[in-house]
């Protein structure tokens, strides 16, 4: 059972930041969908609904996604999805249900850095960056690999790149956690892949553009997989190749 001793809506990000530093068990509450399942005590729960943006802003060269943007908004935002060839929609549409996605936030998904995260997988392939209140802007890839900092994630930034791209995943049942997810962007002579649910954190791999089946075989040899309850190591390795071929096919269809 989750126990919260104090619930605070700070007046400023600075105040929120200071609260975070005060006690290592203090915690920012985002969608709370995962946090709720924990059996722990939080001295101070920090609610940033009035401080961190829940809007998607579009500029000439980028989309700036507030960390409080819900997965549902990420899924249905017309301009973002048009630019992204519906990768945003495809990456989250199978996550539990609309009621869940109306609560879960992009910031929460990114900050938690779960291995199976579909959001991170989708964002990694498209050179997304994130903005931390203290740490400033950094590539998502770097953030994913770095240890948990006591900082506040405020924005996720997606550069506007008019490139073919796609997201595919495999689930044991329709709304289960991804057994494996894969996203790809085609940049001139190079594919940029992100593969998650290995089941470890997603990794990024670049490969030269060549015949799909060859790319898929190469990718399989480069993505380390492990077994868990949802799939064996052997099956995940086969899925890397399979999903790669599907993603490349889909990418060409959307190009």
């Amino acid at each position: 059972m989750l126990n919260i001793q104090q619930f605070v809506q700070p007046k400023s990000l600075q105040e929120a930041y200071e609260l975070l530093q005060k006690n290592r068990n203090n915690q920012i509450i985002a969608g709370m969908l995962w946090l709720k399942m924990e059996d722990r005590s939080i001295p101070t729960a920090i609610d940033l609904q009035h401080l961190v943006s829940d809007q998607i802003e579009e500029s000439d060269d980028r989309f700036i996604i507030g960390a409080n943007v819900t997965l549902r908004m990420f899924e249905t935002h017309p301009a973002l999805n048009q630019w992204m060839h519906h990768v945003c929609r495809d990456s989250v549409k199978d996550i539990v249900g609309v009621q869940f996605r109306n609560l879960a936030t992009v910031g929460g998904s990114v900050y938690a850095r779960f291995g199976f995260s579909d959001v991170i997988c989708a964002l990694l392939a498209c050179d997304a960056t994130i903005i931390l209140y203290k740490g400033g802007e950094m590539p998502l890839e770097e953030f994913v690999q770095s240890p948990y900092q006591r900082d506040i994630l405020t924005h996720i930034v997606i550069p506007k790149q008019s490139l073919p791209r796609s997201f595919v995943c495999m689930r044991k049942s329709a709304t289960d956690i991804s057994t494996l997810n894969l996203s790809v962007v085609k940049k001139k002579e190079q594919y940029q892949f992100a593969v998650g649910g290995r089941p470890q954190k997603a990794i990024c791999i670049q490969l030269p553009v060549e015949e799909d089946t060859i790319v898929a075989k190469k990718l399989r040899s480069l993505v380390p997989c492990e077994g868990n309850m949802r799939a064996s190591k052997e099956y995940r390795e086969a899925l890397v190749e399979a999903l790669c071929r599907k993603a490349l096919k889909k990418l060409e269809e959307t190009a």
Binding site: K36, G97, T175
Partner: protein, 158 residues
């Protein structure tokens, strides 16, 4: 802490525990339609509206609802009647334990989607689990409900 919530159109100002979940607050306030079927945000039984959007009340801190409006099936009885008619005429409520959550999401879907296809309906409602019906009867009821005005108009034409 003290919160102000508009529950089914009524303003409530109340002292609450910091960690009380919305579902427990709602049941304590007589909204017994709100059911809990799991602890892992998977079943959709506890679906209510926050500012008209369907959310899982089991996963939302009541504290975060301060200043927001919450609607449960108790607050949309009239609106829900029309859909209930079609559910009852398919026998698709069965045990009825998941019905309130489903109804709240169907009504929200009707607000949000324009003339959804069957696939879009299935997608929108994927987070509403039901173990009794196999979903077919629910889908028949939903289709008939969404087309009710068309059918009524059609009947008048004849």
């Amino acid at each position: 802490m003290k919160i102000t919530i508009t529950l089914n159109g009524k303003r409530i100002q109340e002292e609450i525990a910091n960690d009380v979940l919305l579902i427990d607050f709602l049941r304590a306030h007589g909204c017994y339609s709100v059911k809990r079927g799991c602890e892992t945000s998977n079943c959709g039984l506890c679906t209510v509206w926050m500012d008209q959007k369907p959310v899982l009340s089991c996963s939302l801190l009541c504290a975060k609802c301060d200043g927001h409006s919450i609607t449960t099936l108790e607050g949309v009885q009239k609106q829900a009647e029309a859909f209930a008619y079609f559910m009852a005429h398919e026998g698709a409520e069965q045990c009825g334990f998941c019905s309130p959550g489903l109804i709240m999401n169907v009504l929200a879907m009707e607000q949000e989607l324009q003339a959804p296809t069957m696939d879009e309906i299935r997608s929108y409602l994927a987070g509403n689990l039901c173990r009794c019906t196999g979903y077919m009867g629910q889908m028949r009821a939903i289709q008939k409900y969404l087309h009710r005005n068309k059918e009524a108009a059609h009947e008048t034409d004849q």
